[in-house]
Structures are given as C-alpha cells and as structure tokens.
C-alpha cells in the first residue's frame, strides 16, 4: 500500500479527469479557431471551461487566460506587467520565499534595470504587512507575493497587503501565485484585492501542463508569445483543449462539498502534527497556524531530511524535503529565510495531503518515521562521540 504525501509536488489525476481528457482527445480534436463545426465544438468546450474556472474564483469568464501551468502564469504576470508598466516606475516588490518561477523571473528583471525588493519573512515564515508598507514607494509598479507557500503552507496576509496598496493609492499591479491555495482555501476575486492570479491544474488532480491566469479587467499586461492571437491576444498558440477539459473536470470535482474536503485535510494534518509531537522527541513544526490545510512541514534535528525521505520511501511512503543533503547544493531558500535552527532545517520534511489520505495512514507514517529518526540519531550520536 502506497502512502503518497507529496501532493504539493503533484497529484494523481482523478478517474473522471483521465476520462475527460481521453474523451476530448478522441472526439473533440478540432482546432477551436477553425471555422467549421468541429472547430465550433472545441470552442464550446473552451468557453464552458472558461466560465467554470471563472465561477470557481468569483471572476468573469473574460478574466481567465489558459496557460501551461504555474510557471508560465508567474512568468507571464511578471514579465507582462513589467513590459506594460516599466515607464511608470522601476520598483518591484516580492518576497524571499517565493517559488523559483517568481524569483528567477524577478532576477531577470533586475538585469533589465528593475529594482527588486525581496521582503523577509518572520520566524513563522509569514510576510508582515508593516514590513511591506515600509518597502512600498510610489515608484512600485509590481507586487508579486504568493498566496500560500509551497514548502511550509504559510498563508500570506494578501488581504492586508491589498488594503495597504489601496490606502496608499498605489498604481502597482498586484500578482499572487495561488497554485498551492487553489481548492484548499477560498479564492474569491470579488473580495481578494489582487489583479493577477496564477493557478495550476495538476495540484488539484488535474492533468499536468495546463493552468490558468486570472487577469482582472482593465489590467495592463503585455503578452509573452507572438502568434495567432488566441486567448484574446494574451496567449498565442492552439489551445490545449483536452488538458483544459481535464482541468475543468478537476475543478468541478473540487467544488463538490469543498468545506468537507478542507475539514478532512485539516484533520489529517493536525492529527499528524499531534502524533509527531507525541511520539518523536525534539520535533519542530515549521508550518504556522495561518496555513493552508494541505501542508505540514516539520524538522527532525539530528537527521538529514533527504535520508529520512529515503527511509520512508523504502516503506512506500512518499514525502519531500526542501532542505539539502550535500553541502554542494544550496538548501531550502524558504527555511533559510525563516532563520530556523540549522539542525532543524537540515532534518526538514514536507508532508502534503489530499482527500485520499487518512488518520490510519498517519499512524503508519509516524510509526515508520519514529524508527527512521531513532536509527539515524543513534548512528550519528555513536559516531559523533569520538569513541575511545
């Protein structure tokens, strides 16, 4: 029996999604831009998909652009806003704990003359609104801050930051990467004070290689790709119709009893958290109270996360680690930004949950993990003592 706890990396596509992708590939293979009936069939699938995705976040269909996923969405948002607004200012605000798709994109902007401010986080891994407020200037054209962090699950104070932007009457465009939050917490564009949001299908049991970008009406954005002008000119290239159909199927399944699903995730997470603290000595929890229900990050000082990962893998339990094993590789930039005890960061594991995970599974995880932690600590201790 496999216990898969790496849902923040990717999820298993649901049976309904697989069927929907297969069906669309086989039956509706027309190009949505074709003028004949088969093109129209495909265009209809797109149009319905757009409405469904829009409805899931309280947006208008015209505000949805289909993309290849989170990385493209982040890149499109950052480069697109920069191109459209760089004459109004040169300052970009982001944080030290963003996904690499945002951090590397911002580094490219720096090479083009942008001044990029990387906000620090506190020991909880959270951005503090006051810190943001102090960084904000009239020269700021872009703010890109994630909705929730992919390593710790920390949920950022996006609403408070949006309020500051409007109080200061800032002209900056506000982008948020909500890839981890989508389906795990409410995302309602009627209330959330952001302009651009990146979403991805494969984190919610959809297919890989498809996602969406929400762009609030009136936002100035330059396209990345030149071509046939699909997606209202924002995203040229024949649309990934089967992928989009699968994405929408996943969204429909998520919107079935959403509260119940989230309660289940939160229950599994808090159960694992408690059991870890009870059963294993000296565990530190890196996930703050303000977090999405699908991620728990914990540190086991005296161990190396990568070795624990492989010990769990031997029992067919799959987790992930942000921290580094070898000194040749850089460690997790997220845990480093949180200024944790190095031993705790070195022994960090990320558990990420989905509907299929259960308390019983967590009992098994804790049992295996306890043995793994004990044996590694024992080995390290006996070794470290300089016997004789």
């Amino acid at each position: 029996m496999i216990i898969y706890l790496d849902h923040s990396a990717t999820t298993k596509p649901s049976a309904g999604v697989v069927e929907e992708v297969r069906r669309t590939m086989q039956l509706c293979y027309g190009n949505p831009s074709s003028l004949h009936a088969m093109g129209l069939d495909a265009a209809r699938i797109l149009s319905e998909a757009r409405s469904t995705i829009a409805r899931s976040i309280g947006a208008l269909p015209d505000e949805i652009i289909f993309t290849s996923g989170g990385t493209e969405g982040d890149n499109q948002a950052i480069f697109g806003i920069w191109e459209a607004s760089k004459r109004q200012g040169r300052t970009v605000i982001t944080s030290a704990v963003e996904h690499p798709a945002v951090l590397r994109a911002c580094e490219r902007l720096e090479a083009q003359g942008a001044r990029v401010i990387y906000l620090p986080v506190n020991r909880q891994g959270l951005i503090e609104p006051e810190v943001f407020q102090n960084a904000l200037t009239s020269d700021t054209i872009l703010v890109s801050l994630m909705h929730s962090n992919n390593e710790t699950g920390a949920q950022m104070p996006i609403e408070a930051i949006g309020r500051i932007l409007s109080e200061q009457d800032s002209a900056a465009v506000f982008h948020t990467d909500a890839v981890q939050s989508y389906g795990k917490t409410d995302l309602d564009m009627r209330r959330l004070p952001v302009d651009i949001v990146s979403l991805s299908a494969h984190k919610i049991h959809g297919p890989k290689g498809v996602g969406a970008l929400y762009v609030r009406g009136g936002t100035k954005l330059s396209p990345l790709l030149a071509g046939g002008g699909q997606e209202r000119g924002f995203r040229s290239g024949t649309e990934n119709v089967p992928g989009i159909a699968g994405f929408v199927q996943a969204v429909r399944e998520q919107s079935d009893h959403p509260e119940e699903r989230r309660r289940h995730l939160a229950d599994v997470k808090s159960y694992l958290r408690e059991r870890l603290l009870e059963e294993i000595s000296d565990v530190s929890i890196h996930t703050p109270e303000e977090s999405i229900p699908s991620i728990l990050n914990a540190g086991f000082p005296g161990c190396r996360g990568e070795v624990l990962l492989r010990m769990l893998e031997q029992e067919r339990i799959y987790v992930s680690t942000g921290s580094a094993c070898s000194s040749k590789k850089a460690g997790s930039h997220v845990l480093a930004a949180m200024d944790l005890d190095p031993a705790s960061a070195e022994g960090a594991l990320r558990f990420s949950f989905a509907e299929e995970n259960s308390r019983e599974q967590m009992d098994r995880v804790v049992e295996v993990l306890k043995t793994a932690v004990d044996s590694q600590r024992k080995l390290r201790e006996s070794f470290g003592k300089g016997r004789r």
Partner: protein
C-alpha cells in the same frame, strides 16, 4: 572500387610484438569488426601489418572514424582512395596513382579554396621500380600542372598528401585521425575496478582497458544514506566506459552494514580506512567469482587522507590479489583532463554524495599503523557485515547507449 569506402588502420604498439603479432592483430580486427557490426557488408582485412576497413558508400565516414578511433590498439585511421595496380606495369601504375592524387586535390580545392601541399610517398612493395622520392616529386609535379589553385609548401602545407604503393594496390590519403594506441581489449586478462562515481575511478578503468584489460566494476553505496541518483550516476559512467571497454558488468553492494558496525564499535578516526579495507575485502570476493585477476582503483598518492602512502599500505594489505593504481603518480588536473577527453567528467561532477557525510570522521587518521587498524578491525563481526552486505548484491551489464 565504386560504391566502396576504404580506410587504412594502423596498429600502434601491436606491430612491435614479435611472435604475438598475429594474435594481437587478429584480436584488434575482431574488436573493430565488433564496433562496426551495426553496418552490414563491412569488411576488415589484415595485410602486412595494416588493417583495411571496407564499407559500402552508404556508411558515413564520421561514424566509421569515431568508432574505430576509440578501439584500443588503433594508432590511427585514414579514409583513403584505393587504386588497383595489380598486373600493371610500374609506369602505368604511377600514372593511375597520379590521376587519383590529382582528382583528390581538385576536390580539396573545390571544397576548401586555394591550398598549399606536399606529397609524401612510401613504397612498401620494394619490387616497385620507382623510388619513393621520385614518386612524390612526379605526382607533386602533376598536381601543380593539372590542379589550379595549388602551391607547394614542404614545411607547413595545408595538405600533406600521401601516395603509398603496396603490393597490388596503391593508396591516396590525407588525414590521420589519431586513436588511443594501447593494446586490443582482451589481450591482458580482466580486472575489477572499484567505481565510486567520482572523477578518478572511471579514468583508472579507462587506462587499464587501454592496455588490453577487460573491465568489470563494483560499486559500493550506502542507501538510504546515499541516494538512488548517485547509483544512477554510476550506471551512467559505466555506460560511457562501455563505449571503449565493451559492455561493463556493474556489481552494486550496499556497504551500510559495515558502516553501522564501525560507528558502533570502532574508533572514529579509523572509519574511512576501515571502510576502504572492507570494500577491498568484498572486491576480493567479487573478483574471484568473476575471474578478475586484479583490482583497479583510482587512488592518487596523497590526494585525500585515505590515499597517503601509509593508508595505501594498510588498505593494500586487505587485498588478496594485485591492486592496479594507474593514477597513483598523476596530478589531479591531469586526471581531470583525461576524464574530459573520455567524456566522464561532466557526469562525475554531478553533486550526489558517493559516501554519506554522516560517516566522514572529523579528523581521519592520515598515518595509520597497520597494527592499530588491525586491532580496530578485530572489533568488527566480519562474518555478519559481509553476509549482510552481500545480500544486497545486484549485477547488471551496462552497454553503450548509442550502440544498443
């Protein structure tokens, strides 16, 4: 001659081997046939100390040159034009050879623009009445007259055109593509290399194979303390080696049982040397089961703590057969340079642990005495760790990826 490509292959040292000469040449011809087995209708023939490769003209020259030049025992290879002069009067033969040389130079000028040249000639058939300097100067004269855009330069020519006369055939050729030299694989037994995943051990294996030794490999890992990716890297390295050495059998053994025992029972400073002795003991077993008469390591004197003269003496004492250390007196930069040449460097530097740093002692003993190490080793339950380690043994034959 039409529809056929001819290559002259020179056998380096094998030509010097006296009575063994036919055996080495035969083995070399077999090796060349094997690397060209993917090309049907290819022939490899021996004639007076040279090998001749003939392929259909559908086979691209670069494929033949690349494959043959990396066969150990090949000194160099040249694509050539063959002229059949059997039963022809010598003057007539020289004129035919001249025609071919002129055509070659015309093609070269059309391809590369104006060229300086020099004709070099060799007369292997001493029955041929025209002497080498005369052959060269008469053919050179014809090229100058008949081939516009050419000029003689005897010191630094763009083209050094060879016109060789052998019994029954003459040859025109230009480049010599160097091979690795050495001796054909299989002419010097079989050795077992301790392949770590680092830069050195693949180079050591290459150098021994270059002297005709067949190669098997043993890799020690300590999963889950080391990663699957680092084992994957060793397979990758074996794949690169197999391009030169033929399919390489890789034996993988998890040495964690030994490391755990050392951690629990022995003084920390001897960890590295005890692990290395343990690896050698396991290698003895693998070598004897697989008819490998020697072990091969990538050790280089003084490179790290476990490779000081004292450490090597202590490790060597655990071996029950000769240990070849072809890198022992090489500098690291030269080892790296060779690794780049054979194509293992980029894979070797991938950052995966080959020996988990959990087990690296803070102050390793650099000048261990055999007596102290032996008394530390006596604290181990050798029977137990060896049995546990051997339970993890996996063997796989790795083949070159471009020749599957």
């Amino acid at each position: 001659m039409k529809g056929e490509h001819v290559y002259i292959v020179r056998c380096g040292e094998t030509a010097l081997k006296g009575q063994n000469k036919p055996y080495f040449e035969r083995t070399l011809a077999q090796r060349i046939r094997r690397v060209l087995s993917g090309f049907p209708e290819t022939k490899v023939e021996r004639s007076d100390g040279l090998l001749f490769v003939r392929t259909t003209d559908a086979v691209r020259a670069e494929d033949v040159l690349r494959r043959v030049s990396r066969v150990f025992g090949v000194d160099s290879i040249s694509p050539a034009q063959e002229v059949d002069i059997g039963g022809t009067a010598d003057e007539q033969a020289l004129s035919m050879l001249g025609d071919t040389a002129v055509a070659w130079m015309k093609a070269a000028v059309a391809d590369r623009g104006n060229l300086t040249f020099k004709v070099v000639s060799k007369r292997a058939d001493k029955q041929f009445s025209i002497q080498s300097p005369d052959i060269a100067s008469r053919i050179g004269g014809r090229i100058l007259r008949e081939c516009p855009g050419t000029r003689v330069d005897v010191h630094d020519p763009d083209v050094r055109l060879h016109a060789d006369v052998r019994r029954g055939f003459a040859y025109v050729y230009e480049q010599k593509i160097s091979g690795f030299g050495g001796l054909p694989l299989g002419t010097n037994g079989k050795g077992l290399v301790l392949l770590s995943g680092g830069i050195d051990s693949p180079v050591a294996a290459f150098l021994m194979a270059h002297r005709g030794m067949l190669i098997e490999a043993v890799h020690f890992h300590s999963y889950p303390y080391t990663s699957r990716q680092s084992q994957e890297k060793v397979r990758e390295l074996a794949g690169i080696l197999s391009v030169y050495c033929g399919p390489v059998r890789v034996h993988s053994i998890n040495i964690l049982p030994l490391m755990e025992q050392i951690a629990q029972r022995c003084p920390e400073e001897y960890t590295t040397i005890l692990v290395r002795r343990g690896m050698v003991r396991l290698a003895n077993l693998i070598a004897s089961e697989n008819d490998c008469s020697m072990l091969i390591t990538g050790e280089s004197l003084g490179q790290v703590a476990s490779q000081t003269a004292e450490s090597i003496v202590v490790v060597d004492q655990a071996a029950d057969r000769p240990v070849m250390r072809p890198l022992i007196a090489m500098d690291k930069v030269d080892i790296m340079e060779t690794a780049r040449q054979i194509g293992t460097y980029e894979t070797s530097i991938l950052p995966y642990d080959d020996c988990c740093s959990v087990f690296l002692p803070k102050r390793p003993a650099t000048k261990p005495s055999l007596e102290h190490v032996l008394s530390a080793e006596a604290l181990l339950d050798e029977e137990a760790w060896m049995r546990q380690a051997l339970e993890s043994l996996e063997t796989e034959a790795i083949r070159p990826r471009d020749e599957l």
